[in-house]
């Protein structure tokens, strides 16, 4: 089990620590509901150092990324970030990730912790065809173990973080980034991204600078009531937004089209990516199932792998994520639903311990500011 450089802070704060994706991670401090509401109304800090970071450099970096990712990397300009995925050659998804463009020949990929090894092998395998060298000192480089990251999220996050840098950050657009001197640390990647839907930033540093960053972030946020937030609230926050979680809602057997990720699957001229033909066919002909959001009408909480049935009790889908939504005080979930059942407002039933509880298909996000 690996540790992030922030572990000692989590322990000192009394966090409940669980093994997650190969790391000892804080799942909650004060309680999921309280932490969730802190991020919705103020500012909270997540240790997300478990995430993976790969650098891609060189004259063929763009061609390589256009081939292995589904979104149109050529649409990025310097300082912009893009959400995308790696199609797996069989219509499924290797992982979902962020691509950062530093320059036309320099990119950063941020991948899920649980998939770092799989993604790395996948990238190395496909990089060879583009003459891209992989490994330490290569054009493709896995910096995951040396990189730490804090996500500072919430409506007051940027205001609080502005105190730590001379560069303006409060007016930064969503999904952009800057390389800054921040909290006295050089070369910090400051990115207005996140997984909560409440605004804020994600801050990347070298492991050695982690203690300084943690302490400065909490000092700057004190007047705004800043609090540490665990993985539990990270999940309820993302689910209220309807954001996909790899391993739950998307995986090696789900396609981006049926997962509702058509918006990151770009069939633009000149972009010949893995699974292009297969996914284009799916987009044109439609799919047999779709990932949709639903809210409980009856009292109950949906959980991953619960069955979805129609009024007659016929199986029509499966829940992939579910929780009690702290902002909405209602059970919500994502489910793959068969054709004929995925239109908004369709009445469906979630089988909760043998009882079929009424729910309704709904548009995402569940939570609106």
């Amino acid at each position: 089990m690996k540790n992030t450089p922030f572990l000692k802070y989590h322990e000192a704060l009394g966090a409940r620590i669980i093994p997650f994706a190969g790391y000892n991670m804080p799942v909650e401090y004060a309680g999921i509901t309280e932490e969730h509401l802190t991020v919705r109304s103020g500012v909270g800090v997540f240790d997300v150092s478990h995430m993976g970071e790969f650098w891609v450099n060189g004259p063929r970096a763009l061609d390589f990324l256009q081939h292995i990712t589904s979104n149109d990397v050529s649409a990025l300009t310097d300082g912009k970030v893009q959400y995308t995925c790696f199609p797996n050659g069989r219509g499924g998804i290797v992982d979902d990730l962020l691509v950062y463009r530093f320059s036309a020949e320099k990119y950063l990929l941020v991948v899920n912790a649980a998939n770092i090894e799989k993604d790395w092998e996948w990238c190395v395998k496909h990089a060879a065809a583009f003459g891209i060298t992989a490994g330490p000192g290569g054009q493709l480089n896995n910096a995951s173990d040396g990189t730490a990251q804090l996500a500072v999220q919430g409506p007051l996050a940027l205001k609080a973080m502005q105190k730590l840098t001379g560069e303006p950050v409060t007016d930064m657009e969503y999904y952009t980034f800057k390389v800054l001197k921040f909290a006295g640390i050089d070369d910090v990647i400051f990115s207005t991204t996140g997984y909560t839907g409440s605004g804020g930033c994600e801050i990347y540093i070298r492991n050695a600078d982690a203690p300084r960053l943690w302490e400065e972030v909490f000092r700057a946020g004190e007047e705004y009531g800043i609090k540490p937030i665990g993985l539990g609230a990270r999940d309820t926050l993302r689910l209220e937004m309807g954001f996909c979680l790899y391993g739950n809602d998307i995986n090696d057997t789900t396609t981006p089209i049926e997962a509702g990720l058509g918006w990151i699957t770009k069939f633009v001229p000149g972009k010949d990516f893995i699974d292009r033909d297969l996914l284009l066919k799916q987009k044109e002909e439609g799919t047999d199932r779709r990932l949709k959001g639903f809210v409980m009408i009856d009292k109950g909480i949906p959980r991953q792998h619960y069955e979805v049935v129609d009024a007659q009790g016929n199986l029509i889908g499966e829940v992939t994520s579910g929780t009690m939504a702290p902002s909405l005080k209602q059970g919500i979930g994502l489910a793959y639903l068969n054709k004929g059942f995925w239109k908004n407002d369709t009445e469906i039933f979630i089988r909760v311990r043998g009882r079929d509880l009424k729910a309704k298909v709904t548009a995402l996000p569940f939570y609106k500011q």
């Binding site: 909650e28 309680g31 999921i32 509901t33 309280e34 539990g232 999940d235 309820t236 009292k299 109950g300 909480i301 959980r303 929780t323 009690m324 702290p326 311990r353």
Partner: protein
Amino acid sequence: MNVPTNLKYTKDHEWVLIKGNEATVGITDFAQHELGDIVFIEIETVGEELGHGEVFGTVEAVKTVSDLFMPVSGTVKEKNEELDTTAELVNSDPYGKGWMIRVELSDPSEIDALLDAEAYKKLIGA
């Protein structure tokens, strides 16, 4: 971790308060802490006679769901109606306002098999 000495306990982290032929049942401070924020308590067994170890309800926390087991055999006479709207009482006051059911014992000798506070403390490493 709070473990009152006047109560009996089970390995499933329930507490039992015995008064004559009646037992009041809830979950322990340790259990509520492990579950995290509790949002629903579902008890639909009032009036039923259940055996020791049978499920009398479920507790739903934000991230997890767990069954509730009968610590002793008996008839569920009453449930804590207040939990229908304020399940979080189980978090804030597990041994008081967070009580769950009252049971009429069918075999009072089962009480001897329950853990005392010392034994329960040992179980949870407190």
